[in-house]
């Protein structure tokens, strides 16, 4: 006879309602907040609530992984990038045009209706929670047993993603050198002649890029003289 009692049905309901509410509010805050840092905070609470729901579903291992990977790594990565970009992370006039918004809303409503209309087919009897379901031992047994090869492939995926992220975010060295050389030479001109088809925004960006007053390296002067 175990001293641990199974959680009562009402406790289960309360846990589900509370975590579900936090998850929905967090998701809404993520999507609707103007400031991206608020979006990141919304995502953080959403992730915490999902970890709670995983616990209610007796997926202990996944709840911990969710906290470590999402709350500990992904959200922090988002915050890093937002802080790195500074004010540029905020995009004014963020909302799309009315046509795109209505189309999107209709598409979302249609797909949600299709999913909800099929939900009554998935009534299933709940199996009594087995003693060993969801424990670290069992998950590890399955992960390193039947799922061993995909598990190893995940490490390859993560290495590729890491190398790719570094390569992309470091940028092309050639482009940086060209820009530096142009600044050193003190050319105020654009590399390519200004194309009349360029939008005003592009022209402004190119002009800013080639602004002779902008941050010329200090050693450029002595190099010249």
């Amino acid at each position: 006879m175990s001293t641990l009692r199974a959680p009562s049905s009402s406790a289960e309901i309360v846990a589900f309602v509370v975590f579900a509410a936090i998850a929905v509010v967090g998701a809404l805050a993520t999507v609707m907040a103007k400031n991206p840092i608020r979006s990141a905070v919304g995502l953080f609470f959403h992730v915490l609530a999902l970890a709670g729901l995983y616990l209610a579903l007796s997926a202990h291992f996944l709840a911990v992984i969710q906290l470590i990977v999402y709350a500990g790594a992904v959200v922090v990565l988002f915050v890093f990038v937002i802080m790195l970009l500074g004010p540029a992370a905020d995009t004014p006039r963020d909302r799309r045009g009315l046509g795109a918004r209505i189309t999107g809303a209709v598409l979302v409503a249609i797909s949600a209706g299709m999913v909800l209309s099929h939900l009554r087919y998935v009534q299933r009897p709940l199996v009594r929670r087995l003693e060993e379901y969801g424990t670290l031992w069992q998950i590890g047994n399955d992960l390193f047993g039947r799922a061993a090869i995909p598990f190893e492939l995940v490490s390859v995926l993560l290495v590729v993603a890491m190398v790719g992220a570094i390569a992309i975010s470091r940028g092309s060295r050639k482009a940086a050198e060209a820009r530096e050389a142009r600044q050193r030479a003190g050319e105020g001109r654009l590399v390519a002649p200004l194309d009349p088809r360029l939008s005003t925004r592009d022209a402004r960006i190119l002009a800013e890029d080639n602004d002779p007053d902008a941050a010329r390296p200090a050693h450029a002067e002595e190099h010249h003289s």
């Binding site: 289960e12 309901i13 589900f16 579900a20 998850a23 929905v24 998701a27 809404l28 993520t30 999507v31 991206p36 995502l43 992730v47 999902l50 209610a56 997926a59 992984i65 969710q66 990977v69 999402y70 992904v74 990565l77 988002f78 990038v81 937002i82 970009l85 540029a88 905020d90 995009t91 795109a100 918004r101 999107g104 598409l107 979302v108 998935v122 009534q123 299933r124 709940l126 199996v127 087995l130 003693e131 379901y133 969801g134 069992q138 998950i139 399955d142 992960l143 047993g145 799922a147 995926l157 993560l158 993603a161 890491m162 790719g164 992220a165 570094i166 992309i168 975010s169 960006i205 800013e208």
Partner: protein
């Protein structure tokens, strides 16, 4: 009333719709990436909920913790009894050696019985799949943010509408 599978499915459907709407409505590349994370998370919730409501299957008892422990204990006991039998044989105590050999035999038979046994267990495919989805989502976040940084370097903005370098 109790919490059913359909409650979890409705919740994850709502979360997926919120994520999809955010991806469609927002122009900020960072918020678009976060919306993708929301969608992946809702899929994970579906997988874990389905896994909880999955019927049991019969698996070898050796694949459960209790069964593995039982088999290990029986094997260790057999080894102990073998050792004791060898010592008794060295002491030329034939009766003792015989007893220990018989005990080792029963222990080995017990380990074999555990190996044959099958017990009901809910398989964990859903949770394992969710684990892989989390790994893919982490890789996607790292690469997406790197692309956002590269876009910012070129265009000085993170609006997705300004990522039109491939436009003819």
């Amino acid at each position: 009333m109790s919490i059913q599978l359909s409650h979890y499915l409705i919740l994850s459907g709502i979360l997926f719709a919120i994520g999809a709407a955010g991806f469609l409505f927002r122009r900020n590349a960072l918020v678009a990436l976060m919306s993708i994370e929301l969608m992946l998370n809702s899929v994970n919730l579906t997988l874990v909920a389905f896994n909880r409501w999955q019927p049991t299957v019969q698996v070898p008892a050796i694949q459960t913790r209790a069964g593995y422990r039982a088999a290990e204990n029986a094997r260790a006991e057999a080894a102990r009894e073998d050792e004791a039998a060898a010592q008794a044989a060295r002491r030329r105590d034939d009766r003792q050696a015989q007893e220990h050999r018989a005990a080792a035999q029963t222990a080995r038979a017990r380990a074999e019985a555990v190996r044959e046994l099958r017990v009901p267990m809910i398989p964990h495919q859903g949770q394992i799949f969710a684990f892989f989805v989390i790994a893919v989502a982490a890789a996607e976040a790292a690469l997406g943010l790197a692309i956002v940084l590269a876009l910012y370097r070129v265009r000085k903005t993170v609006r997705t509408d300004d990522a039109d370098l491939l436009k003819g």
